[in-house]
Symmetry: C2
Subunit: 377 residues, 2 copies
């Protein structure tokens, strides 16, 4: 996978392979990190699917719900019917910066003019209850950034997101949604969504048919930030989702931009806070263009795709080793390196035990190679 | 003087000495820097006054306008009649931070509760055509900072300055004016001025009777910044006087604070620019209090009171030496150190030649030990 992500022209997966990838990533408790670990251990999605029930059982979960082939075929049909398709990491149409982020989804569903994804992207997000002025300003910035060659990424929400998409419909816009591509949200933006699917790109990592829940939005926000060189917050109240997006963007090493506002305007409380914390102050599109210029065109440093250990030849860990790892884990995230030092086990064994626990839904993976035990299992 | 500025209890000048100081500082082309150089060379203001015509003549000016003793006595009478008095640098009531700034005025006229000047000061300045919201916010911050123990310094202008004074009338406010203490400006603030002179402090370095001209305001702004640990700009358009104050404050090593605003509000263009350039963003009084806390109570580093050479025993420079210095000067400021290296003259000689040129009105002194030739002479 690493080689695929780095090199072009890309090795396309066969339809058969992609179908297996889809089944594997749609399996409960299989996230991007365990997906990669499984492919590394078993060599292919098919082999991983076969091995999965036993692995999960060893992690402590004895009923693993693999989706049926029928479900997978049905999802692929829905995609095809609406003119969407699945793009695997490493393929040409996969958003290039996202491929270099922490734990990128192995497959995303996209519809639209996928060539747009090659342009350097800037995310514009903000308050759903935006002021008229804030929305206008977001639309203007999106338009100017679009004319300067940037792809505008946002989340299709009301308010700032909507304005950002509208401002960049002509030059290139991507709506990243928190549910399936056939479940756009909110309802009042369905016609905008269709226009974006036609003239821009709509993108999701969630299954077709998936109705977005509150907890799906942070995951979507991670994609928005992961695709973009920088993320601009136009208006945001304290404790709003846009601030979470900004935090995620910052953690990923993206530039964080914010538009200032009056201290007496609650819709500026969040952006002013970001500015206090070091976000770059934006009053004109040039502020963003100038700050991003040094990044564009240069290959991004390929970050910490930490070389996964070769898992194909390790004997399954025994129960004592497994409980060593479990005992060392707790609700607070701990680094895998620390875990290896603490347990004294071989890194490959720790990786494998974590994979088992992950598949059993007993751990959570955090960015930067941290894991924590889920306590409600 | 240096000793006086550092040590307390202070050596008070006799009335007779203060009268001579006033006459010397009221002499044309005698600014704070040449005042200090003259005292250093001649030991007293009286001796300097005697020597001055010859010195100026050597610098190229043959008609030096010393104010008459009568004029000086008249000014002292006006001061006394309005209940004001002159405070010399080194005296207890001289604003303590100002004494440590670059080229502080040797005398300031003050009226009011001078004890207030001992509190740590924060300047609040901004647009004359402030918005209602901006003025309210300035007043609220001034009130909160006042309650936190800060003295509020401002310039009595309409808009933000007025609001800052009003907000801090009860806790302590200083109005620094650009004309004489008996010439407050603008007219609509005369009753506020009188209230400040009663409950706070009014302060000026300009002669009584002096009607402020446009070019006097930057000099006043320098006092505002020089007296204060930090300077807050609440609202300011591009290219406004408040930005000059902020630049001066920054050059003096003061903290510069700015209140953000919408990019679409022209009254926030200046403050947003300051924030882009590194000013500290303020949405609440705590932002200022927290940033200033580490400075308060600690003795400020006493900056670059560059040790003046002992001028008492140097023979007058000859014409060749004088023209060496003049030729080395131009309209662009050059450091005195550079000048000494370039001419190869003894530092005391360069100082003396500069003093002559200064008295003749042929050079301008800049902060940081820079001088330039005035070309319109």
């Amino acid at each position: 996978m690493q080689q695929e992500a780095k090199s072009k022209p890309t090795s396309l997966l066969s339809n058969r392979q992609k179908r297996s990838w889809l089944r594997l990533i749609r399996t409960e408790n299989v996230g991007p990190a365990s997906f990669r670990a499984l492919i590394n251990r078993f060599g292919s999605a098919d082999a991983a699917l076969n091995a999965l029930p036993e692995l999960a059982a060893r992690g402590g979960r004895h009923r693993t719900v693999l989706p049926s082939w029928h479900e997978i075929d049905a999802e692929m049909e829905v995609a095809e019917r609406m003119g969407a398709r699945f793009v695997a990491i490493g393929e040409e149409d996969y958003p290039p910066l996202l491929a270099r982020a922490d734990h990128p989804p192995p497959l995303v569903a996209i519809k639209g003019r996928s060539g747009l994804l090659q342009a350097p992207a800037c995310a514009i997000v903000g308050a759903r209850n935006a002021s008229v002025i804030g929305a206008k300003f977001a639309q203007k910035l999106a338009h100017q950034l679009g004319n300067a060659g940037f792809l505008i990424v946002s989340g299709l929400a009301r308010g700032i997101d909507t304005a950002a998409h509208r401002g960049s419909l002509e030059t290139g816009t991507v709506a990243v949604v928190a549910g399936g591509l056939d479940q756009p949200y909110p309802p009042e933006n369905i016609s905008l969504y269709e226009e974006i699917a036609d003239r821009g790109v709509v993108l999701s990592e969630m299954p077709f048919g998936w109705v977005p829940r509150a907890q799906d939005f942070p995951r979507r926000n991670r994609l928005v930030a992961g695709m973009s060189y920088g993320l601009l917050v136009v208006e945001a109240a304290e404790r709003s989702g846009s601030l979470i997006s900004a935090r995620l963007a910052n953690e990923m090493g993206r530039l964080v931009f914010a538009v200032p506002g009056s201290p007496l305007d609650p819709r500026a409380a969040g952006t002013n806070r970001l500015l206090k914390e070091g976000a770059l102050l934006v009053t004109r599109a040039e502020d963003i263009i100038e700050a991003m210029a040094p990044l564009i065109g240069r290959p991004m440093t390929i970050p910490a795709f930490e070389e996964p250990p070769d898992l194909t030849s390790i004997p399954p860990p025994d129960d004592m080793e497994r409980s060593l790892v479990v005992d060392a884990l707790g609700p607070a995230p701990v680094s895998i390196d620390e875990l290896i030092r603490h347990t004294g086990l071989h890194p490959s064994q720790v990786s494998l035990i974590l994979l088992e626990l992950d598949l059993a839904g007993r751990i959570e993976r955090h960015s930067g190679g941290f894991v924590s035990l889920l306590m409600d299992v």
